[in-house]
């Protein structure tokens, strides 16, 4: 599917979709959205790029194997879950919140890092699956 329209469009779509995925990720604490959907949208960005430019280009763009995102994301979520045990001695997965209200971001809490972890894992899994399937055909 190497048409010029798709290729040109995908160059603009990639950053747009990635920004949109981050927006969905951050929105997800109280509104629809979150790490899972955000991760899917981010992987769509890369899949679209791969459709337009071929898998090799997307791999070059990523610099590393997407499978690596899985343990990274898991580790991040895991640390956010364990952090109350380490810092305050409260049970596993208790939400910790930074007391000050930050500009733009709002309130910062350990739940955000959990969601970022999910975002990375979903992206890692989806891209690994799609890359593996499209390589084998």
């Amino acid at each position: 599917m190497k048409t010029i329209i798709l290729r040109t469009a995908s160059n603009y779509m990639l950053p747009l979709l990635l920004i949109f995925s981050v927006f969905i990720l951050l929105r997800g604490h109280y509104l629809p959205g979150g790490g899972f959907v955000g991760g899917l949208i981010a992987s769509i960005a890369f899949v679209l790029h791969a459709f337009a430019n071929g898998l090799g280009d997307t791999r070059k763009l990523l610099h590393f194997h997407p499978g690596f995102l899985m343990p990274t994301g898991l580790a991040l979520s895991f640390l956010s879950g364990v952090s109350p045990l380490i810092f305050t001695g409260e049970p596993f997965m208790t939400g910790l919140w930074y007391p000050e209200h930050l500009p733009i971001v709002g309130n910062l809490g350990s739940a955000l890092f959990f969601d970022i972890g999910v975002y990375l894992v979903v992206q890692g899994v989806t891209l690994t699956i799609i890359f593996t399937i499209s390589e084998s055909t």
Partner: protein, 502 residues
């Protein structure tokens, strides 16, 4: 005493799995990390167990949400014992996998998945929330499915399809049952459910719901009409995988049955009869199945099914002594079955064959190893001082007091058939003068392995044999433990108070 201790077995397994994923392609690192981590986990499990033994049940509210809304993790004596047994089997199988599983399989993430499986098992034992229990069951199914198919041989895939279809069906039934239960009571916390289910007016629906749970867990624990997936799949993966499956997977189903039918549902006479009938038929059909098989691992698979019957029988009789017998049997069975499948792995590595008709000469070639293997084999049969004998004693005496003579008959029949099968196996594999087997090319024979690998394979068998011997000769302690567990299960008020103490 540390209240957070309950969650540590989960955290350690999760951490191990993540670390192992980071070193995905470095197999020699993975071996070391897995063994060291499993030993660490064993230490934590012993710590948890001794703490629970001294101070009573521990609970943790995940996310600090109060019960019945948050997910509770409860370590009562039963759960702590199961976590300890998982850790023991985990150390053994981790070391055995490091020695026996071929690098081509390890490269596809054997060890990370293995530790995710142990995570799922620990979670299922510790959770106090019925929906969370379902989630842990899903983790167990998915990881076990990967372990079953790693390597991608035709037989493996065939077994895996049967395994997965029936287990996913069990999950759906289990999920439906949870949905009905939630619709009836509006709660998912098991301690909370215990009080609320008793107050539900629609008793018929509660009974049907109890049966749904029985079917769901029954498939998972491979009881009589629903066991066909087990012998179809357990003989296909590497022996290390069969060992952890045979030792622990079906026992999670039994654990869940015991938990649900002692805590949430009252066992009425109808359910009692169903359980007893299922138990006797399981004992019978598993035993008969084991007689006709020729493949060592298939024989053990049928014996796994057969011996599930003892535990279900104990549950069905519903007296304290019967439950104590079932729990003792559970403890004994996990150690012995894990050991037997590892033993079959060693035999396969030596002879490159699983067929008992073709094997032979084992005693002449490896006398010391044969004596070692005699320990798990004859523990399984239950020759008096060894571990299989004591729980049957409890079960039979419970059968006399509750006048369930069919159950006593079933237990004695299954014991005799087990004896017959094991003696036949001993005669065929160890004593008979076997035919000369042709050398298989490129097969990693035991004698070609490095000393390190041989140690990694033999050490866990020795370790579990020692545990088995302890269970037999220290039966007094284990009986005391089982009776305490049975007491806690029958009198569920302590569990409920531990969870809803606020």
């Amino acid at each position: 005493m540390m209240p957070q201790l309950v969650i540590y077995p989960l955290i350690v397994q999760m951490l191990l799995a993540i670390v192992l994923m980071f070193v995905w392609s470095k197999i020699s690192w993975q071996r070391t990390i897995s063994i060291v981590g499993s030993i660490l986990n064993l230490g934590i499990a012993v710590w948890l167990f001794s703490s629970v033994w001294q101070h009573g049940s521990h609970t943790v509210q995940a996310g600090n949400w109060q019960p019945p809304f948050g997910i509770t993790f409860v370590a009562d004596t039963f759960a702590a014992t199961m976590v300890l047994l998982t850790a023991i089997a985990g150390v053994a199988v981790s070391s055995f996998s490091a020695g026996s599983v071929i690098p081509a399989r390890l490269k596809f993430g054997f060890f990370p998945i293995f530790h995710f499986l142990l995570l799922g098992l620990n979670g299922a034992f510790l959770t106090g929330d019925i929906f969370n229990l379902y989630v842990w069951f899903e983790i167990i199914i998915i990881t076990s499915f990967v372990l079953l198919t790693i390597g991608g041989e035709k037989a493996q895939l065939e077994g895996a399809v049967k395994y997965f279809t029936l287990n996913i069906l069990a999950s759906i039934i289990f999920l439906t049952a949870i949905a009905v239960l939630y619709g009836l009571t509006g709660s998912l916390n098991m301690a909370d459910l215990a009080a609320k289910v008793a107050a539900v007016e629609n008793r018929t629906l509660v009974q049907v719901n109890a049966l749904l749970f029985l079917v769901g867990f029954g498939i998972k624990s491979a009881v009589f009409p629903l066991y066909f997936w087990l012998p179809a799949s357990y003989h296909t993966p590497p022996s290390a995988v069969s060992a952890i499956f045979g030792g622990l997977l079906t026992k999670v189903g039994v654990y869940a049955l015991m938990r649900v039918f002692t805590l949430i549902f009252d066992v009425d006479p109808f359910l009692e009869n169903v359980l007893l009938a299922v138990a006797v038929l399981t004992l019978f059909s598993g035993a008969v199945g084991a007689i006709v098989q020729k493949n060592i691992r298939k024989i053990f698979s049928y014996l796994v099914i057969c011996h599930i019957g003892y535990m279900i029988a104990g549950l069905g009789m519903m007296t304290e002594i019967a439950i104590a017998g079932a729990v003792f049997y559970l403890i004994h069975d996990i150690t012995v079955k894990t050991n037997l499948f590892m033993m079959s792995g060693v035999i396969y590595k030596i002879k490159a064959n699983h067929n008992i008709k073709k094997l032979g000469d084992f005693y002449a070639d490896y006398p010391k190893m044969s004596l070692l293997f005699a320990i798990p084999l004859f523990s399984l049969v239950g020759i008096p001082p060894l571990s299989g004998f004591w729980p049957k004693l409890s079960l039979i005496s419970a059968g006399w007091t509750t006048e369930n003579y069919m159950v006593i008959g079933g237990i004695i029949f299954a014991s005799f058939v087990t004896l017959f099968v094991i003696v036949k196996l001993w005669g065929e594999v160890f004593w008979k003068t076997g035919e000369k087997l042709p050398e298989t090319r490129n097969f990693p024979y035991f004698k070609k392995l490095t000393k390190m690998k041989k140690t990694q394979m033999m050490a866990p068998i020795i370790f579990l044999s020692i545990v088995s011997l302890y269970l037999g000769f220290g039966a007094e302690n284990i009986q005391a433990l089982s009776e305490r567990i049975a007491f806690e299960l029958m009198d569920n008020q302590e569990y409920i108070n531990a969870v809803l103490r606020k």
